[in-house]
Symmetry: C2
Subunit: 238 residues, 2 copies
DNA sequence: CCAAAAGTGTTCTCTCTACACCCATGG
DNA sequence: CCATGGGTGTAGAGAGAACACTTTTGG
C-alpha cells in the first residue's frame, strides 16, 4: 500500500477478501467445498474458503491463489466467475470487511486430506446448508444462496453445465447436472435434441461407455461454445 | 474500523469505493452521468461519480449516498443493482483501491448546475466514450462497457426498460429504449404484442397523448412484473 | 425374456417474424 | 389528400412439450 494513500484516507480503510463458492455434483447432490475455520472470528465453524487479497494481484488471481492454498485445487481448469461483493457493516465482527465472492464450477474432485492447508477442507451437500443457514460463518449462507441461483440461471443461457462433468461424459451425465441443480427431472429425449442441436455445446468422441444397466451411451467432450442460443429455459419458471 | 482489525492485518488494507454508472436515454442516445474530478489522481478528467464507502453503511447505501452527494439525484426512484467489483492492482496510481460498481437506470433527469457538489456533473453520450476509452479516468471505460452489456442483457430478461421512461409513457417510448440500447430497429407491431401480452410489464392508463405526427398513442405506467417470461431475446444474437 | 437407459420419431402447441393493412391525427 | 406513427390481423417457420416407440446392453 502506497504511503500517500494511507495518509490521505486515514483510517477509512477496509480489509478486502475473496471467498469461493466451489460447486460440484457428488452422488446426485449439489455439493460445496467448505473449510473449518482455524482462527477467530467463527473459529471452528464451517465457512467458504477464502482469504485476504494481496496488493499485487488481481481479485481473480487472489481467488485462484486461495483456491490452491486452501484446497490444493488447480483452479485454471475450473469455470471461475465473479459473483459479487458483500460488504454489510457487521458481517464480520472485526469491523468493516468487504469480500468479493467468486463462483467456481468443476467436476467432482478429490480433496487431499492431511499435511497441507487443505487438510480441513471437505465437501458438504448444499441442501442441508441452505436448510440451516446458521451452520456457516459470516454471511456465507447468503453468498451460497446467491451462488446457487446464479448457477441455475447460467445453466439456462450458457454451456457451463459441461464444466461439472469429468470428460468424457454422456448426455445422461450432463442431464443429471441440470436435474440436480434445477431440482426437477427433464425429458431425456428432448434434452438430447436440445444439446446436440446446439452447435458447439458438446463434441461427439465416437467412443461409447457401457452403463450399469441399459444400452451403452456415446461419450462427448465439451465444445467451444460458451453461450446457448436459443437459451434452455427452466420449465415451470413461467 | 476496529483497532483489533488494524493490528491484526497490518498494512494489508485497501481503500474501498463505490462507482456509479447512471444511464439514461437523451435525445435518442444512451447517455451516462459523469463528473469532472476535482482532486488527484486524474484531476480534471471525466469519471464516473463515486467515492469512499463509510464503515457504517452497506455498499448499496454508499452508492445511494454518493449519488445524492455528487449528482443531487434521489436514487430511491431509480433501478439500482450491483455490477461487480474492480480491483486490478494499478487501476489507481495511489495503490490498491477496490471499487464496487453499481448500475443505475432512470428516465432523463435534469442535473442541477451550480452551488452543490453536483455542479460539475453532466450527461455524456456513451457511444463517444466507448470509441475513445482514454477519456475516462481509472478503468472507468471498462466499467462502462460492462454496464452497457449488462443493461442489454437485462432488457432481454427483465422489465427494466420501463425504468428509462418517465411515466406515463407510450409503447413507442418504450420501444425506443430497446432500439437505442440494442442498436437496431424493432418491428413496432411485434413489439407491442410482446409487451402487452407480458403480464404486469405495463399498465394501461386509459389516457392518450397526441403525437407530433400521426395517431395519438395510449399511455402506460410500469407494471408490477420484474421478470419477463418468456424472455425478449435480441434478434441477430443467433 | 425382462428391466433399464440410450436414442429416434411424431404430433400439438406456442412464439417469433415478416408483412399487409387499417386508424387517427396534423398539415 | 397525404405523410406519419399507432394499432390489428395473419400466414409461415421454428422450438418446445409430451409421449409412443425402437435399440442395446446386463442379469
Amino acid at each position: 500500500m502506497d504511503d500517500r494513500l494511507k495518509r490521505s484516507v486515514g483510517v477509512e480503510l477496509s480489509l478486502v477478501t475473496v471467498d469461493l463458492v466451489i460447486l460440484t455434483i457428488r452422488e446426485g447432490e449439489a455439493t460445496v467445498l467448505l473449510v473449518e475455520r482455524g482462527a477467530e472470528p467463527f473459529k471452528g465453524r464451517a465457512a467458504l474458503p477464502g482469504g485476504r487479497v494481496r496488493s499485487d494481484e488481481t481479485l481473480g488471481e487472489g481467488a485462484l491463489r486461495e483456491l490452491r492454498e486452501e484446497t490444493d485445487i488447480d483452479g485454471t481448469r475450473l469455470h471461475l466467475e465473479q459473483l459479487g461483493a458483500y460488504g454489510d457493516p457487521g458481517r464480520d465482527p472485526r469491523g468493516r470487511v468487504v469480500t468479493i465472492a467468486y463462483l467456481a464450477l468443476g467436476p467432482d474432485l478429490p480433496v487431499p486430506k492431511g499435511g497441507t492447508d487443505a487438510a480441513h477442507a471437505y465437501w458438504a451437500p448444499v441442501a442441508e446448508l441452505l436448510a440451516s443457514p446458521d451452520t456457516l460463518a459470516f454471511d456465507h449462507a447468503r453468498v451460497l444462496d446467491d451462488a446457487l441461483e446464479r448457477v441455475r440461471e447460467r445453466l439456462e443461457y450458457t454451456t457451463v453445465a459441461a464444466a461439472f462433468c469429468p470428460e468424457p461424459f454422456t448426455l445422461g451425465d450432463l442431464r443429471e447436472v441440470y436435474e440436480v441443480l434445477w431440482g426437477r427431472s427433464l425429458d431425456a429425449s428432448n434434452f438430447r435434441r436440445k444439446v446436440t442441436r446446439s452447435e458447439g455445446f458438446v463434441v461427439d468422441t465416437g467412443e461409447q461407455r457401457p452403463q450399469a444397466t441399459g444400452r451403452p451411451a456415446v461419450l462427448y467432450r465439451r465444445g467451444p461454445a460458451r453461450l446457448l442460443s436459443p437459451p434452455f429455459l427452466r420449465p415451470g419458471t413461467v
